[in-house]
């Protein structure tokens, strides 16, 4: 447990570094928010000065930073000008949407990639092996915005199979009572199967778009790891002992191949969480990614800072989870991560 405590303590300087870098980066943006927000043709220099003062941008940088830091310590992430809401409230509202999409895509990728990688390892060098590699790699070779637009064009506009690629639920439906913020979970908790089906239909296309990107690396690691284990002595021994192939593959080989797979899973999950900006934009998915993008383009500092901080916290949390999972799978890993 002391390892966990040390890891948690070690997070503090990393987060502080993130806070400083983000603050500096937003201030480096060559635009004056006061001039941007005084967007009425009747606004003159005095109006702009008044706005600058109201936004606290007339203070010296170090003072702005200290004020920001003080507010952070009180749990206040500031106020967004673009949405007119407190940043913390915005993120709290939008984060479940992003997380649900990422988790759905992640689940899809794992369900497809792990069996695919295992199959490729078991039939190494065969046509299915090459085919799986080609298709997997092709999935990573399209920018997500292109594959997203392509899917929308085919499945919504041309064939009309998929629902309208706008948001998380049918526009005339009322969202389920918020318990987890995940519509898939909330509809089930409310016992609303029809609502669940609608939310599931809505999430399929964006999740597939994101999953396409994760399948190839995951399948690859699974295949390589399985190959390593399948060639090892104890599997040969198990084979020689006449154990059934199915049992060998599932209970012995897969479990021993799990460590690198879990490590890769963690990296991929973090990557997806950070990379869903474009998918959210294409599918009008109300998540934190497109929120941060709007804020960045709109010179709205507080949301950008808040978003980066929350994301950094999530990444660190995911890494911690991965380390714990690795330790649970293989006690030796604890030594490794301690080194």
């Amino acid at each position: 447990m002391s390892l966990l405590a040390r890891r948690l303590f070690g997070v503090v300087p990393t987060l502080l570094g993130v806070v400083v870098v983000t603050f500096v980066l937003t201030r480096l943006l060559p635009g004056d928010p006061a001039a941007f927000f005084a967007n009425s043709p009747t606004a003159d220099a005095a109006t702009i000065a008044a706005i600058r003062q109201k936004l606290g941008l007339d203070l010296p940088l170090w003072q702005q930073f200290l004020l920001y830091l003080g507010a952070l310590l009180r749990g206040d992430l500031g106020q967004s000008i673009v949405t007119g809401q407190p940043v913390a409230a915005d993120l709290l509202r939008l984060l479940p949407a992003s997380a649900e999409l990422t988790l759905a895509a992640f689940a899809m990728a794992v369900l497809v990639a792990v069996p695919l990688g295992m199959a490729a390892a078991l039939r190494r060098g065969s046509l299915p092996d090459h085919l799986c590699r080609l298709l997997g790699t092709a999935g990573v070779s399209l920018p997500t915005f292109v594959s997203g637009l392509l899917l929308i064009h085919l499945f919504y506009y041309r064939f009309g199979i998929a629902p309208e690629p706008i948001g998380r639920i049918d526009p005339f439906a009322i969202p389920p009572p918020a318990m987890t913020g995940f519509f898939l979970a909330d509809t089930l908790l409310a016992g609303d199967l029809r609502g669940f089906a609608a939310a599931a239909r809505q999430i399929v296309l964006p999740a597939v778009t994101m999953a396409l990107f994760a399948i190839a690396p995951l399948a690859r690691v699974t295949r390589a790891s399985m190959l390593g284990v399948l060639g090892s002595d104890f599997i040969r021994a198990a084979r020689a002992n006449g154990l059934r192939r199915r049992k060998i593959v599932l209970s012995y080989a897969l479990r021993n191949a799990l460590l690198p797979i879990v490590t890769t899973l963690g990296m991929i999950f973090s990557g997806m969480l950070g990379a869903n900006v474009l998918v959210e934009r294409v599918f009008a998915w109300p998540g934190v990614g497109s929120y941060a993008l709007d804020a960045l383009v709109g010179l709205d500092y507080a949301p950008v800072q808040g978003f980066v901080l929350v994301m950094a916290g999530l990444f660190i949390g995911v890494n911690l989870l991965v380390d714990l999972a690795c330790a649970a799978i293989d006690p030796r890993a604890r030594l490794l991560s301690d080194a």
Partner: protein, 523 residues
């Protein structure tokens, strides 16, 4: 469905088929970031919300365009919350008589005290004051309550823009009692509360708002300032991607798609799966600016050379697909009517451009950078490429710089960009108002940094000119100067393209370019 319906909790509910007919679903590029017209950094989508949920004292009249599309009429002003109004003989006082039966959404009557508080609030906040100052209203003492239903607005001298200012988007009438309950000593005008709450009595009430995603409005059946709107319910959703908005409309899932790119407007109108209302935006114009405070564009010959070199027709077709009103061609050198913007009289003539450049002592051309803002890229980028190519012919070497949103405003404020594409809007159609904002003064809105003593004097003189003949002569002179000195090259007034299903009627174009929900109905 017994399964879902019978369970505890509140399962998802769908609007019934008959209410779908009375509901309108609107998709737009962005949503409002504030409900307060005088707030800081309020975007233009906010107007769509407060325009339809608040009433103003006055409003502009209505006229039909050549294709039958309704539009606002700047030349007539009628009452909204004020059932009638009188202007005094010396034109320095306006007496407004409020409707006696009008109420706010919470049922409380609209009184002169509410109006007084709302107008005082305008001049008490920076953005509001800057706007009202264009109509000579700067001091609360100018708004006098005569009785519970009568209020008088006085101005130090006659001002043509006082009435239009009262009909514009900003001066909404708040439910003062409700708003004041949320005021604090630090925030006497309740701007924190009014940013996220509606305290009005307009034709629609706001039921639900998910910032950045959707708004649900319902009709206020007690509305007295006009005929009841045709829709009981409006669902307004934010869909940033124009292609998604179009797809959704063409598949019949949405009723109205706003802010269509020109090429989509053209192909949608051709394919006929939805209809497109395209109204050239009066007051809105796109232009090429040249910074006349610095070389080489401080030389009028250089600016004229550029104006003669541009491939206007190609730009109009390739960038705008012909969706708009050209501001090129026309009568050179002198005014053609009193309206402005009007065509500046320039056309494509590379030989003339080359000669002018040589006369300016720059026969070998020069290097410059052409900037435009990211959000305008669909139109600005083709324009920029054609400008680059055409100016290359006369020896001006152009680098194209696409500037992320927000940054260009700062650069323009500092007059730090030499050559650029921009767009802007004047709410009031009077030519002197246009010149005062876009051709005069130290602000960024004087995009060309135009500074001409004669022009400046005329801008001041026309401000309060009461003699029509003198006003006309002065405006003609200003138009001639604007044509000669071209600090900005007006290109065109783009069309505001709104796609809608065939059964949607009553569309009306408003000066603020946002959707007028009150007149819409399903046939």
């Amino acid at each position: 469905m017994g399964l879902a319906g019978g369970m505890a909790g509140a399962p998802m509910r769908w609007a019934q088929a008959q209410t779908r007919a009375e509901s309108l679903r609107v998709l737009s590029e962005a949503g409002p970031n504030s409900f307060d017209p005088s707030g800081i950094g309020v975007n233009r989508n906010a107007i769509q919300l407060h325009w339809n949920t608040y009433d103003r004292l006055l409003r502009f009249g209505t006229r039909a365009g050549p294709d039958g599309t309704l539009s606002y009429d700047y030349s007539t002003i009628e009452g909204e919350l004020a059932e009638r109004f009188e202007v005094s003989g010396d034109r320095t006082a306006i007496t407004l008589h409020l409707r006696r039966d009008a109420t706010f959404h919470d049922g409380s009557p609209v009184t002169a005290a509410d109006v007084k508080w709302s107008l005082d609030r305008m001049v008490g906040m920076p953005i509001g004051r800057a706007q009202f100052a264009t109509g000579s209203m700067t001091d609360p003492a100018q708004f006098v309550v005569l009785d519970a239903h009568t209020i008088r607005v006085t101005t130090p001298r006659p001002d043509r823009f006082t009435l239009p200012n009262l009909a514009a988007a900003h001066p909404v009438i708040f439910n003062a009692r409700l708003a004041r309950a949320h005021a604090t000593p630090d925030d006497p005008w309740a701007s924190d509360w009014l940013r996220t709450n509606v305290a009005g009595g307009g034709a629609f009430r706001l039921d639900h708002h998910v910032p950045g995603q959707s708004l649900t409005l319902s009709r206020f059946d007690g509305w007295k300032s006009g005929a009841l709107p045709g829709f009981r319910r409006v669902l307004w959703q934010v869909v940033p991607n124009a292609q998604s908005r179009r797809a959704s409309l063409e598949r019949g899932d949405a009723d109205i798609a706003q802010d269509l790119p020109p090429q989509d407007a053209v192909s949608m109108a051709r394919e006929g799966r939805a209809k497109v209302a395209g109204v050239p935006m009066a007051g809105t114009f796109q232009f090429i600016g040249m910074n006349s405070t610095r070389p080489p564009f401080d030389n009028v010959l250089v600016r004229q050379a550029v104006a003669w070199a541009l491939p206007y027709r190609q730009m109009f077709e390739a960038a705008l697909f012909g969706r708009g009103q050209p501001l090129f061609g026309g009568r050179p050198g002198e005014a053609d009517g009193l309206q402005f913007p009007q065509p500046l009289g320039y056309d494509t003539d590379p030989a003339k451009a080359k000669a002018l450049l040589a006369a300016a002592g720059l026969a070998d051309g020069f290097d410059t950078t052409f900037s435009f803002e990211l959000s305008l890229a669909p139109v600005a980028e083709p324009v920029a490429l054609l400008v680059q190519e055409a100016l290359g012919v006369i020896g001006i070497r152009v680098t194209i710089d696409k500037v992320p949103g927000g940054q260009l405003g700062t650069l323009l404020e500092k007059k730090a960009v030499p050559f650029f594409f921009e767009a802007s809007t004047a709410y009031f159609a009077a030519p002197d108002y246009f010149f005062r904002i876009f051709y005069h003064g130290p602000t960024r809105w004087n995009f060309g940094g135009y500074d001409n003593a004669e022009f400046g004097a005329l801008v001041q003189k026309t401000r309060f000119e009461t003699d029509d003949a003198a006003y006309e002569a002065d405006v003609r002179r200003m138009i001639a100067l604007a044509k000669r000195d071209v600090p900005i090259i007006l290109l065109w007034q783009p069309a505001l393209d709104t796609g809608m299903r065939a059964d949607i009627g009553g569309y009306k174009y408003q000066f603020h370019r946002q959707l007028e929900l009150r007149t819409l109905k399903r046939a």
